[in-house]
């Protein structure tokens, strides 16, 4: 899977495939991190406590 493995041969396919994969994973990871961090900061600032029981659509 990774360069350096005994059987590794570089070709364009790896760049395209891994490029697409890490692009998607990067967006998912960054998006999730952003949401969690923002929620943590907002909670620390006391936001959200007033919403107890409300539903968000």
């Amino acid at each position: 899977m990774f360069p350096g493995f005994f059987e590794w041969i570089w070709d364009g396919g790896h760049v395209v495939f891994m490029g697409g994969l890490w692009y998607a994973l990067g967006i998912i990871g960054m998006g999730l991190t952003f949401c969690i961090l923002k929620a943590a900061i907002e909670t620390a600032q006391g936001k959200g406590a007033e919403h107890g029981g409300d539903e968000h659509h």
Binding site: M1, G13, H14, F17, M18, G20, L21, A24, L25, I27, I28, G31, L32, F34, C35, I36, K38, A39, A40, E42, T43, G46, K47, G48, A49, H51, G52, G53, D54, E55, H56, H57
Partner: protein, 410 residues
């Protein structure tokens, strides 16, 4: 007893009745779990697969649930990217169905492989030129996206939402849902397509082999297209089913009509492409390998030309014609008929692209190979259905899945 967990302003059946229902479905689930354990502990000799049928019922179930679960990515794409805001009334349910379908697909794959403990080899020793590798990567990533899309719904449970952090997290996730939906659509395009590519690249199997563009056979594009077209049919079919079971109207007519119309046009355009593909395959691709169309549909006890008619006419042309006309969509009977026919059509397509591929003899002196699944295969295929029913039931009872429920019923 559990009223504190039930969303405000809606009514649910008693906990006893609910527990009884879950108990019955849970028994079916346990039966599936028992079969699953048999397959894991004793091996795939528990199935009726053989060296002619390396792919069988499970792979079909996998392909079918992924196609039917395509409603999640396509509805998300329409709502968040195209901007069809009306679909906000069904998107939660579409996401839930997608989550169930994709988690089921991953579970089935984990049972299907001969050495489950080595399943991670597909990532570690990935052959990026294999369609199955692309499927595994994109499927796993997209499942992560669906989990992210489902998570805010869980956090919106009345009690969980009281926790400020969960409330804020759910709110923030909703805010950037378009980003996740776009990533999901990107991943879905590839894994739905790769599933089509799995069959289409088999140049040793003239029944499934297709030519194509660049590295992608035509089946790549047809599978993506059909999942986007038929996935919403499944979402609508299950919406009608849950409305029937709960005896409530849960999604407004305007939303249903819009999704049905889009699905209809998608099926309409897809089926034209499918007919063109079938024609080219029957007249050019297959004859190059020495086969005529009827070689694939005769001299065997099951696969007659009827299956092609079932897939294209009954499962394609008819639902397309119903759904693209206003009259068809507005008639409850025709609408339900169309979405059910649509689900049948795409399932038959996945069936032939897995099982008929295995059945057709390729060497001239070989014979047709027929197959019927063992009870262990059937039970493990029903297992995700039972799991899906339980998850839908729990989600419906405790989460605000249908935003219009109050407005339409009380």
């Amino acid at each position: 007893m559990d009223s504190a967990l039930i969303p405000q302003g809606v009514r649910r059946c008693s906990l006893g009745k609910f527990a009884f229902f879950i108990g019955i479905v849970g028994a079916v689930l346990l039966w599936g779990v028992y079969a699953m354990l048999l397959c894991w502990l004793k091996g795939l000799n528990q199935t009726n697969m053989n060296d002619y049928y390396g792919f069988a019922l499970w792979i079909w179930a996998d392909l079918a649930v992924i196609a039917l679960g395509g409603g999640a990515f396509f509805t998300g794409f329409l709502k968040y990217i195209v901007g069809k805001d009306e679909l906000k009334n069904i998107i939660n349910y579409a996401v839930l169905i997608g989550f169930i379908c994709y988690s089921s697909a991953l579970l089935i794959l984990a049972i299907d492989i001969g050495q489950p403990l080595r399943g991670w080899f597909i990532f570690w020793h990935a052959n990026v030129h294999s369609m199955l590798t692309e499927v595994a990567f994109c499927l796993s990533c997209y499942f992560a996206v669906l989990s992210i899309e489902y998570l805010p719904l869980v956090l919106e449970n009345r009690q969980l939402n009281k926790v400020p952090f969960f409330h804020n997290l759910a709110h923030n996730m909703h805010e950037i849902m378009a980003v996740f939906a776009a990533t999901g659509a990107f991943l879905s395009f590839f894994h739905q397509g790769s599933l089509g590519g799995v069959a289409g690249v088999l140049f040793g199997r003239p029944f499934s082999f297709r030519e194509g563009a660049f590295i992608w056979p035509w089946t790549f594009f047809l599978f993506t297209w059909s999942a986007a077209a038929y996935g919403p049919c499944f979402t609508l079919a299950l919406t009608k089913l849950i409305e029937k079971v709960t005896r409530k109207k849960l999604v407004g007519d305007k939303c249903v009509d819009l999704l049905a119309k889009i699905s209809g046009w998608m099926i309409f355009t897809y089926i034209i492409a499918k007919i063109a593909d079938t024609y080219y395959w029957a007249t050019v691709t297959a004859p190059e390998g020495g086969f005529t169309l009827m070689d694939f549909y005769s001299n065997n006890p099951m696969y007659g030309i009827w299956i092609l008619v079932l897939e294209i006419v009954i499962g394609g042309i008819i639902p397309a014609l119903i759904l693209i006309t206003k009259k068809g969509r507005r008639s409850p009977f025709l609408l339900v008929t169309a979405v059910i026919f649509g689900c049948i059509g795409v399932s038959v397509n996945r069936w032939v692209m897995v099982l008929q591929v295995m059945a057709v003899p390729v060497m001239p002196f070989d014979t047709w190979a027929m197959y019927y699944p063992s009870w262990q295969e059937v039970a493990t295929t029903i297992l995700p259905v039972a799991y899906g029913v339980i998850l839908v039931a729990l989600s419906y009872r405790y989460l605000p899945i249908f935003p219009q429920e109050k407005e339409l019923n009380y």
